[in-house]
């Protein structure tokens, strides 16, 4: 492909995964305790999508990557200090809550709206990327809904690999049930790909890349529009962190198979 891809990655921040996440009742519904004060990281699945996007763009001259992020402006800015050093991209920031308790329908609408407004985006070359899941709200539906709103009907979920053939055909490896992969082909963009982990390691930080990105980052953050998130999307009956359970049994000389069977039984309950 001579002109390259226009890759839009949807991804935002989640509280750093090592933090204690304690649900509390906030004024507008459930929230996490001290969420704004906790250090944030890029949502891991969105991160994989971003790194895959940069990798693909680097291999296909003329490509360009945008990161569309809906999150509190001040937190997004802090996040950019590490993410923007990893790979080159242009930020499209939308100001609003990145909480896991927002409604994905509204979030998808805000993201699609922002993508539609990217002036230089060529929709015929568009690859819509994002995570197949999220560390904050694991509904696993956002990328599909953004795709629908943008009229992209070729959608691939939980992808681990995208290969581009000489004729521009994309071959996508999607995770399906039972540890199997589904291999699909699509003639080319536009299509939507919600990434699982992909195959790339997290690129190291390089402040020099960051300084390049900085030129567009700050203006984008400054002009970030407030997203209309009503928090009316749903009612939360109860919110709790998954319970940790620890059961210890001291046994000797148990064969591996038996151990595995035992654990599987225990998980089934």
């Amino acid at each position: 492909m001579s002109t390259g891809f226009h890759i839009v990655v949807c991804g935002s921040l989640v509280p750093d995964l090592l933090q204690t996440l304690e649900p509390v009742a906030g004024p507008t519904g459930p929230a996490l305790k001290n969420e704004m004060m906790l250090p944030a990281v890029l949502d891991p699945w969105a991160g994989h999508a971003l790194f895959e996007a940069a990798h693909l763009a680097a291999k296909h001259p003329g490509s360009k990557v945008w990161l569309v992020s809906l999150g509190p402006k001040a937190k997004l800015q802090q996040l950019m200090m590490s993410i923007a050093q990893k790979v080159p991209f242009e930020l499209v920031a939308i100001d609003g809550s990145a909480s896991g308790f927002t409604d994905p329908v509204e979030v998808a609408a805000a993201l699609a709206g922002a993508i539609e407004k990217i002036p230089t985006l060529d929709r015929s070359r568009l690859l819509l990327f994002g995570g197949c899941a999220s560390a904050s709200r694991d509904a696993g539906v956002t990328v599909q809904m953004v795709g629908e709103r943008l009229g992209i009907t070729d959608q691939f979920l939980a992808a681990d690999e995208v290969k581009v053939g000489a004729d521009g055909t994309l071959t996508v490896l999607e995770r399906v049930e039972g540890g199997q992969y589904l291999v699909s082909e699509v003639v080319g963009p536009p299509c939507a790909i919600a990434w699982a982990t992909g195959n790339l390691p997290e690129p190291p930080n390089n402040p020099q890349v960051g300084m390049q990105n900085m030129r567009t980052l700050m203006p984008s953050l400054q002009k970030a529009q407030l997203a209309a998130l009503s928090a009316q999307g749903g009612t939360f009956v109860s919110v709790e962190v998954p319970k940790q359970e620890r059961k210890t049994r001291i046994v000797k000389d148990v064969p591996l198979d038996e151990m595995a069977r035992d654990i599987a039984e225990w998980i089934k309950g």
Binding site: L18, M37, L38, A74, Q78, M81, N206, G210
Partner: protein, 710 residues
């Protein structure tokens, strides 16, 4: 928001440990995104590859191993190496770099200061060239020290700074050089070829260095005086990296005792040379070069020790809080389960002291490096003005500067006067426009801040690191201790030693703290603190101001007083007087800068939406922490001053008397007694502040696990 003042109901508590937003405000880099990126980048290396290397036992060898060498490549990839280099030579950060190098050191030392030292020592090796090198030397060695860019096929050069020599030569005393430079060959009309013999001792980076900046003295009548000179590993002769030092600290860096006997062209003399009557005259002596170098590089190690204290907070809280979880009968929801050892007041109070020491050290260290970032331009402007008067350094300059000391002190006083008359304002503007005065003021301040930071941050820092270790019980002195606290303790002792041990800093302070300009500056600090105490009564600023007044009086008194035998107290050789007084000052200087940083947080914190949820708790906690530390610092300074003021008097005084009823005997020190009483009285509330801060410490939310391996 919580108001300052006496207790009025429960204060807001600290919700989370201070994050980047807080640090960016306190250390004044909220608008420097380049610095913020460098911080993130260095942090990822520190808490990733560096921590893994430590956890794997890479410190358990004195040799320069592959594991250690691999860390240098990580530094290169993360932009840490190039951060020290100017963009014109391939770096990427514009302007002076003292502050950003301080941030880098902070992040690396948070995990392992030896790793920090590897990166810092390279900057130290380049510093003589950066500060005094010729344009050609700068261009060559700076560019070589930048990691190769994609597509470039070249080796990166790493450097070492070789001043210290085998015993009995250079150590604290940098004048007793045994390294020699002689003329090896000097053909008519050609550049002289020199022969350098140098035996270094404890030279950092010798395991990886391709070049060395070495201090040597002339061993030849055709060379005048001493100089610093660049040696390269491919120069003809002996380049022996020497035996590795069997260090107990900083094992991730390489330290060896190298031996050099090399032929080098004369243009390697740092800063160049002239030839006068057949004699090579270096443009800078080694003393001139190292003065410029140490002025710029001593703040960095001081920041390392403070980083370690701050890094200890989270592991200690976690250990204390979880100490009894899992024991039979200690159920979830009970105080013993939730708070563990944090139920005990002592555990909380001692950790607050560690925290406060780390904060004050970081505040002082970073302020010092920010000040140094202004230094080069100010120094150049001064030299340009003096040059127009035909003065080009040396004694003539010292004389010219001394003649302006009164003007400089007047300028400082006018600057602090908020109600200047029209005439005073005009005079102020006139003085403010003079680059020479600006330099004198900056130099006066930096020559107190640098040694204070190096002395107090590292010296007191190590003592407090020991406290942190003891709070982890037996765990503290094992390799398994989360946060590597035991190794951080012993590492701190090295930060107190290299780049000039404590004695060197005390010696410098004993001179610089008594200069009229600084004493004027010090008085403006006291006045400032009194204003702060009025506006923010619960920060302990009044206590600090009172202790500073007491120190100021004591110094004045000691400067003319004599001991019971009629001998002067304040003199060069009387270390028993001047050095403790320097220690006392360092406590006050560090605390003053903590006050300033907390004021900054109070002013700017509420503007940051990311902090909105917790700003009240942050401010009340930091206010209390400052109060706690002001009280400690005042106590230390007062104790030292009392010993000095009273300790040299004759012992004839009856044991059961008190100064109050023997006025005649103590008339000359009556002001001291009054000032000391003022300090004591001002301590009111400081322990209440500690109780409040303890409440925060026992409730603050911490992450589930440490973000680097054990």
């Amino acid at each position: 928001m919580e108001k300052d003042g006496s207790p009025k109901g429960p204060p807001a508590l600290l919700k989370t440990l201070p994050g980047d937003d807080v640090r960016q405000i306190m250390w004044r880099f909220a608008d420097r995104f380049d610095y913020q990126m460098v911080v993130q980048s260095a942090r990822a290396v520190a808490r990733g590859p560096v921590a893994r290397a430590v956890a794997k036992g890479a410190r358990n060898s004195h040799e320069w191993t592959d594991d250690k060498a691999a860390l240098l490549l990580e530094f290169d990839a993360a932009g840490i190496t190039a951060a020290a280099v100017d963009p014109e030579y391939g770096g990427y950060i514009e302007g002076p770099k003292n502050f950003v190098l301080g941030l880098l050191a902070f992040e690396l030392a948070w995990v392992d200061a030896g790793a920090g030292t590897s990166s810092m020592a390279n900057t130290l090796a380049l510093a003589p060239i950066h500060e005094r090198g010729t344009p050609e030397q700068k261009a060559l060695y700076m560019a070589r020290s930048v990691p190769p860019q994609p597509g470039e096929d070249r080796k990166i050069w790493r450097g070492a700074f070789a001043l210290t020599e085998s015993i009995p030569y250079v150590g604290v005393d940098t004048g007793v050089l045994s390294g020699r430079v002689r003329v090896a060959e000097w053909n008519e009309g050609e550049e002289p070829i020199l022969h350098v013999d140098k035996r270094g001792r404890f030279i950092t980076n010798m395991g990886s260095a391709s070049f060395v900046t070495a201090a040597v003295d002339s061993g030849d009548p055709r060379i005048k005086g001493s100089c610093m000179i660049i040696l390269e590993e491919t120069d003809p002769g002996t380049w022996d990296r020497g035996t590795p030092t069997k260090k107990l600290a900083h094992q991730l860096s390489s330290t060896r005792d190298p031996v050099f006997s090399l032929r080098v062209p004369a243009h390697r003399i740092i800063g160049g040379y002239t030839v006068k009557d057949g004699v090579i005259v270096p443009n800078y002596s080694h003393a001139e070069v190292i003065e410029a170098v140490f002025t710029r590089t001593r703040a960095t190690p001081s920041i390392m020790t403070s980083a370690k204290l701050l890094s200890a907070i989270e592991p200690v809280i976690r250990y204390h809080r979880r100490r009894f979880r899992g024991a039979a009968g200690i159920n979830e929801g009970t105080p013993r389960f939730d708070m563990g050892l944090q139920q005990k007041e002592d555990a909380l109070h001692r950790l607050l002291d560690v925290w406060a020491a780390g904060e004050a050290g970081a505040s002082l260290g970073f302020e010092t490096s920010r000040l140094l970032d202004t230094y080069d331009d100010i120094e150049k402007a001064k030299s340009a003005v003096l040059a127009t008067q035909g003065i080009a350094g040396g004694r003539a300059e010292l004389k010219a500067l001394r003649a302006r000391e009164k003007d400089a002190a007047e300028f400082v006083a006018l600057g602090a006067n908020k109600n200047r008359s029209a005439a005073e304002s005009a005079r102020y503007d006139e003085l403010a426009a003079d680059p020479v005065l600006k330099f004198m003021i900056t130099e006066s301040l930096s020559s107190v801040l640098i040694p204070s930071a190096k002395l107090w941050n590292t010296g007191h820092g190590v003592n407090m690191m020991r406290e942190a270790v003891s709070m982890m019980g037996g765990y503290g002195i094992t390799e398994d201790c989360p946060g590597f606290l035991g190794t951080k303790w012993i590492d701190g002792q090295l930060e107190a030693t290299y780049e000039g041990p404590e004695v060197v800093q005390r010696r410098q302070l004993s001179v610089t703290m008594s200069r009229p300009i600084f004493l004027q500056q010090f008085q403006t600090w006291i006045a400032n603190l009194r204003d702060v105490a009025r506006e923010h009564p619960s920060m302990g600023a009044g206590t600090l101001a009172a202790a500073m007044e007491l120190w100021f009086w004591s110094r004045e008194y000691l400067s003319t007083a004599k001991d019971a035998y009629g001998k002067d107290l304040y003199s060069n050789q009387r270390h028993g007087v001047t050095y403790p007084l320097a220690d006392a000052l360092a406590w006050l200087v560090a605390t003053y800068h903590l006050v300033l940083d907390v004021l900054e947080l109070k002013a700017k914190g509420p503007e940051n939406p990311a902090l909105a949820e917790g700003i009240d708790g942050l401010i009340s906690f930091y206010t209390d922490l400052t109060h706690i530390h002001s009280a400690t610092a005042a106590g230390e300074a007062t104790k030292i001053c009392a010993e000095l003021v009273f300790g040299y008097r004759a012992e004839s005084y009856p044991l059961d008397s008190t100064p109050a009823n023997t006025d005649d005997d103590f008339k000359d020190v009556a002001p001291f007694i009054a000032l000391r009483t003022k300090v004591d009285a001002s301590l009111a509330g400081s322990k209440l502040a500690k109780d409040r801060a303890s409440e925060s410490l026992s409730h603050v939310m911490i992450p589930e696990v440490l973000d680097y391996p054990v």
